[in-house]
């Protein structure tokens, strides 16, 4: 059941290069960590998919990286303005895990604060988290996940992976997800793909899953390799988009090590 509601902006604060957009929650449900919402982007034709970052009784908050016209318009929203939210949508993280470890890269941090809170609520305290960023400036966003271990490029977040086995729940740029998939085959990974609708209507968000093109908005965005959900096994040719992407487009090769469909 697709739900779309009008929300008032409670505030918008910069955190490093990102903006934390806080919306009055109204009677909207936050859904499960890793699920996403389609946010009406002022002046644009299509809405933009965003993971829920934080949920309180009063607010829903999104962490947004202004990389293009839609995200920039969202970051410029001011207190008191209103926008429509569609969601929660898709499949989130499976919380029934033994030894959770959250892994985030860049804006891939976005869904982790909510995830961390929910896991803590499940009774085992705040799970450990490791985060990688491109610069000190970007790393300011780590404030949203206190106690996380942080590294800055040229060190990659995979260098912080502990030796003991963990249930990895991760979101970040494609090369990070690709590396994690090799290092931790059971990891739950949150992927991206451009989305027009977010609820299965357009077939625009397909990625190749186990040899088939599947809608990431319906079958994802969180996928587990070899798990119930599968994971993109052979992303399709995609020429590099923007220089500043810090989160992984699924179904795209870019200059990653992934094999490319002819």
């Amino acid at each position: 059941m697709v739900r779309r509601r009008l929300h008032r902006v409670a505030g918008a604060e910069p955190i490093g290069p990102y903006t934390l957009l806080r919306l009055e929650r109204g009677d909207s449900e936050p859904g499960e960590p890793g699920q996403f919402f389609m946010l009406e982007a002022p002046g644009r034709v299509l809405p933009r998919p965003m993971s829920l970052c934080l949920a309180t009784r009063a607010e829903l908050a999104f962490l947004i990286d202004p990389i293009g016209p839609g995200t920039s318009a969202l970051c410029e929203l001011e207190q008191g303005e209103e926008l429509h939210l569609l969601g929660p949508l898709g499949h989130g993280f499976d919380l029934a895990v033994e030894r959770p470890l959250l892994v985030g890269g860049g804006i891939g941090l976005a869904p982790l604060p909510f995830l961390s809170k929910r896991l803590a609520r499940a009774g085992k305290g705040r799970p450990p988290a490791i985060l990688g960023f491109r610069s000190e400036w970007h790393a300011e966003a780590a404030a949203l996940l206190p106690d996380a271990e942080v590294c800055i490029e040229p060190t990659f977040v995979t260098a912080l992976l502990p030796d003991e086995r963990h249930d990895v729940l991760a979101c970040g740029p494609e090369p990070m997800l690709v590396a994690l998939r090799v290092l931790v085959p059971t990891a739950q990974l949150a992927w991206e793909s451009p989305m027009a609708c977010g609820y299965g209507a357009c077939h625009g968000c397909v990625v190749e899953l186990d040899g088939e093109l599947r809608r990431l908005c319906v079958d994802g965005p969180v996928l587990r390799h070899g798990g119930t959900h599968g994971s993109p096994t052979s992303p399709l040719l995609r020429r590099a988009g923007t220089a500043s992407r810090t989160r992984a487009p699924a179904g795209r090769a870019g200059d990653s090590a992934w094999s490319v469909r002819p």
Partner: protein, 292 residues
């Protein structure tokens, strides 16, 4: 009558959206299953969007065996959009649909900009499908033709019962590296930018033929819908708008009624052909096409 535009709603993923319409139009079905085009498949432009879905569909057999029975559970009139790469392919699918329950009409997609092979000629396809089925046949035309009116007359002559206007235009968007954003290069251009083009196409065809017309292209408001009706449409379909606003049908209905009332019209359909300025006797009789 308010419909979705083909390819802009999956009734099985969002049945409540389908139920807010007066009928559900399927994504175009081809004889063989099609994976569709490689990603990236969508891009936004300033006043519209591009898509290169590429007729991804389960193919005729799986559609009939698996999809159609589940669609019937919606208890909605079902319009099946039919595509193909030869006259025979279209006609075979029409024949296969002919015996099926619950199908209100067939929409012949004669105009998909995402398949390279151009249809062999709309007229032959319509004529062959006419032979193959007694179901109402709607010909869906592209606005990318010099003479819409001639096109409309030709498919009417070939036996079409109605027109669906319009399909997308061909468009291209480039990314920052000046490479096509879509995996296929160009794609179909839809959304608000298309509205004046859709209005012109409906207007030209309504001037040429008296067939019922499903108008679509860039509808965002009840006034947009009313304008399509004034230009000659008897039904209106929502496409790109549904991506942004799945609950749009209810809003459009309210606005459509209000815009009609503001013009002292008893019913939105009373606006039909008002833009044409034809004398009353040349206005075609309006069927009971609006359920609600």
């Amino acid at each position: 009558m308010l419909l979705n535009a083909s390819g802009c709603l999956d009734a099985l993923s969002a049945p409540e959206v389908a139920r807010s319409l007066d009928g559900y139009v399927t994504k175009t079905i081809t004889p063989e299953p099609r994976e569709g085009n490689p990603p990236v498949r969508i891009a936004e432009t300033r006043a519209g969007m591009l898509n290169s879905i590429g007729l991804a569909n389960p193919g005729r057999e799986r559609f009939l065996a698996q999809t159609l029975p589940r669609l019937r559970d919606l208890e909605l009139p079902i319009w099946v959009s039919v595509g193909g790469f030869s006259v025979g392919e279209y006609a075979e699918t029409c024949a296969a649909l002919d015996g099926e329950d619950g199908i209100a009409a067939i929409e012949l997609n004669l105009s998909c900009p995402n398949v390279d092979e151009a249809p062999e000629g709309a007229i032959e396809i319509v004529a062959a499908c006419r032979e193959a089925t007694d179901l109402p046949l709607y010909a869906k035309l592209s606005p990318a033709t010099w003479n819409m009116a001639e096109h409309a007359r030709a498919v009417e002559f070939a036996g079409a019962d109605g027109l669906s206007l319009v399909n997308t235009l061909r468009g291209l968007a480039l990314d920052r590296n000046l490479r096509p954003t879509l995996g296929t290069g160009g794609g179909g251009y839809s959304g608000p930018a298309l509205k004046p083009v859709a209005l012109a196409a409906v207007y030209a065809c309504a001037n040429a033929v008296e067939l019922p017309i499903v108008g679509m292209g860039g509808v965002r408001t009840g006034l947009d819908a009313l304008e399509l009706i004034a230009a000659g449409a008897s039904s209106v379909a929502l496409g790109t708008l549904l991506f942004t606003e799945p609950e749009a049908p209810a809003r459009i209905r309210v606005e459509l009624a209000a815009e009609a009332a503001a013009r002292n019209l008893a019913h939105p359909l009373a606006a039909r052909r008002m833009a044409l300025g034809s004398s009353p006797e040349s206005v075609v009789r309006i069927g009971n096409e609006f359920r609600k």
